[in-house]
Subunit: 352 residues, 2 copies
DNA sequence: CGCTATGGCGAAATCGTCTGATCAATCAAG
DNA sequence: CTTGATTGATCAGACGATTTCGCCATAGCG
């Protein structure tokens, strides 16, 4: 049925252990024998059984991926395919494969992770989000299993290896950018408050306002789901304000799409009536109507670096916990935020 | 170090075999013993080692995913995350996990697949594309390993289980739609000619033209990569024609994005100067400028159904090879193709 | 009372690979 | 010719589960 190491051994007239050493390219085997065994393997079409190997070896060559609970929803946001690209590129370069479990609830995700870890199905884990009070991270930390977080972890971040954008800085920069364009009534739409991204970007936003001497007003801060629908709902709320904002910082491109289409539906012009900037600079940002000004955060790089760190941890099995990689970002200015010359200037004048 | 079945056995005062039977919920074990063993497992935090289990069992609970060679490029097209969503949903429902290898060249992909299969790493495989002369499908067929193709396979399709859209019909329908809007000079932009999708959609297009008594002109048919850049290049070519087309059928939304932004850059209005329709109806289609008329093909459903078929094949290990599932599609009309009342009518008049 | 079902469980043989200990052979040195 | 090192290959367990037998009570039956 299956061709095993014994078949190869028999065919090459050696012991199974010899074949095994040939596979591992052990120096204790003579060149001649190696060649003989190799050609036997070739001839029989032999491929080692991965489970037997992992069992003996205590190493699978694969990496576990943990998505947020509703992985199936999550995949709708281009962030994930893109980070996956980065991960898969690096993983492939080093001969690792990827292993995904998905779960609908947090408990399901957790039990999926436990299975991966305790079941020794993977050598390490990448957590693709960072949420407050997250059980998965807590668990991984306890078990001292190699893992890396994409995003800034909560709690004792210094002991966890993670890869992140400087979201705080980015939030500050985009807000300042809007300020420089003349905006004074700047709102913020974020995703779930439990997510580190949301918090960091919002804090950056608030800091920028304070630096500009503008009070941070709760009515100008809305939260929503990380999808277009969320964005749509949030922007409606914001426009209920007596003095509706003239600009809005949106924490995610997909939400921003919802925001701009809602604004258009309401007959508001972008950027003339409301300027919009957002984060991630996913593919669509360039092709929306109008094209989105967005922070390029190099999602691919996040995935790539995360994988890099993980593989490091796995191989030096004296894991250098607490490594931190910050991937640089920059603002890509497109039409959705307006130019200095345009309407924004007027706003500035009328405000001063 | 690791908690094994023996530890549990000792703790519960039974033999390892009993523990194993409890896990499998064998009826030959008394209720009392089951409970005792279960609480021991609980207490010790036992999780079976997956490799040991697979080794003894000859079954992993996981499904292998095969992406086109440049998986890393591929992931940029929203088609894949979406089909992944469908797959992952169904897989998760049935307790399967997903396993991905990626490769840059075709050979790498093939050897990845061989490893999965011969190494018994997965119970079955889903091939996420259908290309002419594809080695992977050929290999899988030879080895009689359970697999399913998303897309219409080449060669002896009747012996392969696959899930597909009726791309031929869809191609015909959209072309006819453009015809009915009054267009007579209709072009086609497709992806790689080796792909089944491209061929089917193009054939449908050609059929519709013939049915309408319009000769199929090679100058009106362009090919490109499945990405925006490809679309951009292709449309430039088409516009070189002496009589440039007034409408174009684009085989993929992402390409269509490239097409429309190129057209805009060239100062052409959509749909007034050139109407555009495309396929897949991915998320962005709705949010582009102008929104794309596109064929909704239920990508999620493709993934879901494919997984369904595969699991069927795996469990009834008398695999009903050659099953075929066609997922229905429908046209979603948006601005990019124009309305009957508009310019299209004029074209009709001036043409007749 | 003796014999056979049967329910409940254990012993031991896989599954396919790796690896530390061991052995055989070769060769140089004494 | 013996000895000791060196090299090359084998042996005999692990690794952690599953599973086929088969054993031992107990119960049922005549």
């Amino acid at each position: 049925m299956q061709i095993t190491i014994k078949d190869v051994a028999k065919h090459a007239n050696v012991a199974p252990s010899t074949v095994s050493r040939v596979i591992a390219n052990s120096p204790r085997i003579s060149q001649k024998t190696k060649e003989r065994v190799r050609s036997s393997m070739e001839e029989l079409g032999y491929h080692p059984n991965i489970h037997a190997r992992s069992l003996a070896n205590r190493s699978t060559q694969s990496i576990g991926l943990v998505m947020p609970s509703a992985a199936t929803k999550t995949l709708q946001n281009p962030f994930f395919p893109e980070v996956l690209r980065g991960i898969s590129t690096k993983a492939h370069q080093n001969g690792y494969s990827l292993y995904m479990t998905t779960g609908v609830t947090e408990e399901e995700v957790l039990s999926g992770v436990i299975e991966m870890v305790q079941g020794r199905r993977v050598d390490g884990v990448i957590v693709l989000y960072s949420r407050e009070d997250d059980q998965v991270v807590q668990y991984l930390r306890q078990t001292k299993f190699p893992f890396v977080v994409v995003g800034k972890p909560f709690g004792d971040a210094s002991s966890i290896t993670y890869v992140d954008t400087d979201n705080y800085l980015a939030g500050r920069e985009v807000t300042k950018h809007l300020y420089n364009l003349g905006h004074r009534r700047i709102a913020f739409i974020g995703g779930s408050d439990k997510l580190a991204v949301t918090q960091d970007r919002r804090n950056g936003y608030a800091t920028a306002l304070m630096e500009a001497g503008i009070p941070v007003c709760e009515d100008y801060i809305a939260r929503a789901e990380f999808m277009t629908k969320g964005g749509a709902k949030a922007v409606r709320e914001l426009l209920q304000n007596e003095e509706p904002p003239t600009a809005v910082v949106v924490s995610d491109d997909m939400m921003a799409l919802g925001v701009i289409s809602t604004l258009s539906e309401m007959g508001l012009k972008i950027p003339e009536d409301v300027a919009v900037v957002s984060f991630n600079n996913v593919y669509i940002a360039e092709h929306s109507n109008p094209p989105l000004t967005s922070v390029e955060i190099n999602i691919f790089g996040l995935g790539f670096e995360a994988t890099n760190c993980l593989i490091e941890q796995i191989s030096d099995n004296a894991p250098p916990y607490g490594k931190r990689v910050i991937v640089p970002h920059y603002l890509v200015v497109r039409q959705s935020c307006g130019q200095k010359k345009s309407k924004a200037t007027e706003t500035l004048e009328s405000n001063s």
